[in-house]
Symmetry: C2
Subunit: 136 residues, 2 copies
DNA sequence: TATTAATTCTACCTTTCAGTAGTAATTAGT
DNA sequence: ACTAATTACTACTGAAAGGTAGAATTAATA
């Protein structure tokens, strides 16, 4: 019941980039500052480039840039790239899908917490969390 | 961001047993009714026996029984057996632990949803969900 | 006591996630 | 044109989760 390593790395990286919008970062710098394995980071960044959340500049003096305003990027946008987060109809007990017609035993208790998590991931943008906290 | 298969199976099995307290079930029956691989189910049940949530009766005419009243078994009790659920201080971004002294960028947004999930898993017992829903 | 139906134990296989290695492609600067 | 610095691609390795196989153990019943 937690985010995958990949999602955590992605959120941390984009958040860090959002707090330093002006400067263009490259993979080596990000890897060092955030203590994320270099090769793993570049793999993740490539995925983020493909879905147009990040722009990559190849070659010498290259690096990465956010492709949208940080307030335009919600955490949910990042999580869906890696099939993480919580899907609307996904049953918490893993029995197919839960709808109002047919639900699992735990469905009613799960509705409220699920809603709150989903809302949090949808409403929270990089702008909201950039620069917050004392850990990177 | 979801429960492990093991946790899901465990909750479903114990919930089913709670709704049929009178009768003693064996692994073959549970496996068929709940559509859980037999060998996997028995492995899970053995773990639940070890932590005293379930009583096993070995040999012919054997099977499994809940060892406590269903209202005495919270979902949290089951999840902790398989190291699932949400730990109190575990950082959602995976950067060590989050405390009031030093927290991650997402900490503040995460507090409320986390609290609600934890409460749900602590307060919901097998008695609450036994017989609910239309899926087993 | 022998049989049979059940749980338990040990070991293995398979799939997915996490992480690594090497090379190709791209581009700025000289 | 060449070099150095950078991202992208392909393929591999290691660890954990999910799942399977077979034999050992237990106990009721005939």
């Amino acid at each position: 019941m937690q985010l995958s390593n990949t999602s955590q790395y992605a959120i941390r990286t984009l958040t860090y980039m959002a707090t330093h919008k002006e400067v263009q970062m490259n993979a080596t710098q990000l890897s060092r500052v955030l203590d994320i394995p270099y090769k793993f980071l570049t793999k993740i960044m490539t995925d983020l480039v493909k879905v147009d959340l990040v722009e990559s500049i190849r070659g010498r003096e290259g690096g990465y840039l956010l492709k949208k305003q940080s307030r335009e990027i919600a955490l949910r946008d990042i999580l869906t790239v890696f099939h993480d987060g919580i899907e609307q109809e996904q049953c918490i007990l893993g029995i197919g899908v839960c709808s109002s017609l047919c639900k699992c035993a735990l469905h009613d208790q799960w509705v409220a917490p699920k809603q709150q998590i989903q809302q949090m991931f949808e409403q929270t943008t990089l702008a909201d969390i950039a620069g917050q906290g004392c850990k990177i």
